[in-house]
Amino acid sequence: MLAGLAFDRRAGHGLPADFRFSQGSLREDEIFDSALAVPGRYMIELARRLLARAPQADFLVIGNPLLPLRAELLQKWVPSTPSAPWIGTDDDGFPLFYCVPRRLADAFERFLLLLSAQDGALDAELIGAVLGEEVACRHFPIGRMGTPPGRGPNGWLNGDRRLDALKLQATRALQIIQKRPDWKDVPFAIYYPMHAGDVLFVALASTMVDQTPFSRQVVCSAYQDIPGACGSRLETIKLKLPWISRDGSVSEATYFVHALDRLGPAADETFIVFSRILRLYYLTPFHLVDHARFALGQSFTDFSQTLHGRPNGSEARCAEPAKPLKVLFHLNGGWGLKTYPKASIETVIRSLGAMGIESSVLGRPDLAEAGATSFDSEDSATLRGLVEDHHLFVGVDSFPHHFARLRLGWPTIGLFGNTKPTNSDASYGAGYQTSEQNLSCNRCGAYESCPVFGGSECLNYAPPQKVVGDILAMAERIYGYRP
């Protein structure tokens, strides 16, 4: 639940408004559910919605998006029009709601992105510095909210102490505002530096938003070529650190501390917004490109605005004659269970070979015996060349798949096992489809072994005969190919 109040001094009352995180329909009382958006981004959305409903409002009360609040409760806490900004907190100073003048939303909306949503005193100081006036904190005797759980009931994620990073983000922002007279001109950077597919989603999203306060993107050096290869409109800030492991051995908060150290002066010259996965992204059907678009500032009110609601950005195909048909596979997805099973792909490659179809694979010399040629691809330019040298691309839920379809518009078949297609597929059509078993256990998200059937292979992956059939069908649709 997301709640707010809009106060109009002239009318003398507050307008209550309740919203929910959208499950897909994007109704009027729903707000897009983005895993990459900081709590402050939801506060911006609440402010926009409140002002759309009450254009004359001069004060807004915005519930902390981390908490499942209702407007009815906010009305009890703030019964009359406020005269000065303040933050309501619990006994520990955890912010419950923010009572702010509309000029914060009108003139300084982007600075809401920097709030911690964890520490009332820190956020009061930050809002005060932006507004140039004192912002008080008032405690409400409701006890203590405590530390947010690893996975909250309303979708927030605090695994690997990621919400702690928001405090650091706010502290750094406050230091910049206090130190620099030109703080209003300091650029904003989105911090989502790692995992190639996600760097791509942010880069593509930047090309699909009309207006954004962000002009920079922090990217690990291993992936620094990706934004350019995806036509990103954001300037890349290179983070010279290896990406973080998925095993939780280094917490997100710890890594963020080191990342800011590593960025050195760049971190003092940029408002860095911690935009790592903060919500359980698979609870909604929205594509991660749209998650990134929302995080960058785009408001969604209609399905037609989403990636699934419009045709793919580009369409392209191989210029070479359709025979011999050449198929490029990418089968490793970053962790064990996400890898398409070896025995199955060997069958696919052998079956295609028997029909005269040539198979290539990215980074899998072990499939040479089955008849596939393996290529290494360590940068986007090499990958692009390889994709364009094949008629079809077939890949698991990983960077090459998203690059081939979303950026290059290449005829692509997505293989989905333990991840959810709608979060990272593409618009469906002649040049794109997925191939899977549609088991009810999808999406489990497990890493090394199947939580339902055991074993190290995901049974939701399509069997070889289906993959071969889908390849032949797409080859006929796009190239008129018949074996």
Partner: protein, 202 residues
């Protein structure tokens, strides 16, 4: 395994004007620790094992003179060379083999790909292709993998040895023979060092 502290880094800096140190095989960061004590403009260390690379990178995150690059040595060397000021001599400290074994993360023969197991020749050719190495100092560790001799720490485990046709360092003479003075040392697991015939400013 060898250690960087066996070499007189200050002496090499003074004598050859080396201002960069590039290491392949970060391991647990001993080489970086040593190099960071000396007056280099930048120390680059390349590690293929992500866990090791991340641990050491975070340890040195607040030292702007240290860069840890995760990836294959070839990719890392290219990345480092792109950043280095051209014409400024460097020390290249090269591990001769797949690194996991030194840190009990893999056995010596766990990597079947010859290029990954013994990347030394490919690395040297890459360096020669991408920069004028005539003023660079090259320090190579684990000579015992390539040649038999009476090394301090004994012979190489048979499992780590390359096929006989690959067990030689003739390529070192071929690449560096005309520009460097090449020496062998029996210390620890054996070093092969190549010092420029031309000294700094010569």
């Amino acid at each position: 395994m060898g250690v960087l502290s066996d070499f007189d880094l200050d002496g090499l800096i003074a004598e050859y004007g080396c201002r960069y140190l590039i290491e392949t095989g970060t391991g647990i960061g001993r080489g970086v620790e040593e190099a960071a004590k000396h007056d280099f403009l930048q120390v680059y260390s390349i590690e293929i094992m992500h866990k090791l690379a991340l641990e050491v990178a975070l340890r040195f995150a607040d030292n702007p003179k240290v860069t840890i690059i995760h990836g294959k040595s070839e990719k890392g060397l290219k990345e480092a060379m792109e950043e280095m000021e051209p014409g400024v001599p460097a020390i290249f400290w090269l591990d001769a083999h797949f690194p996991g074994a030194d840190f009990r993360m893999a056995s010596y023969d766990s990597e079947r790909n010859h290029d990954l197991r013994l990347p030394l020749e490919r690395e040297l050719r890459l360096l020669a292709e991408h920069r004028d190495i005539s003023r660079d100092v090259i320090l190579i560790d684990d000579l015992r993998i390539y040649e038999n001799a009476d090394y301090e720490e004994g012979p190489c485990q048979p499992a780590a040895l390359p096929a006989p046709e690959f067990r030689h360092v003739r390529f070192v003479d071929e690449i560096l023979g005309k520009t460097h003075h090449i020496e062998r040392s029996l210390r620890r697991t054996g070093y092969l060092t190549a010092h420029p015939l031309k000294k700094s400013g010569a």
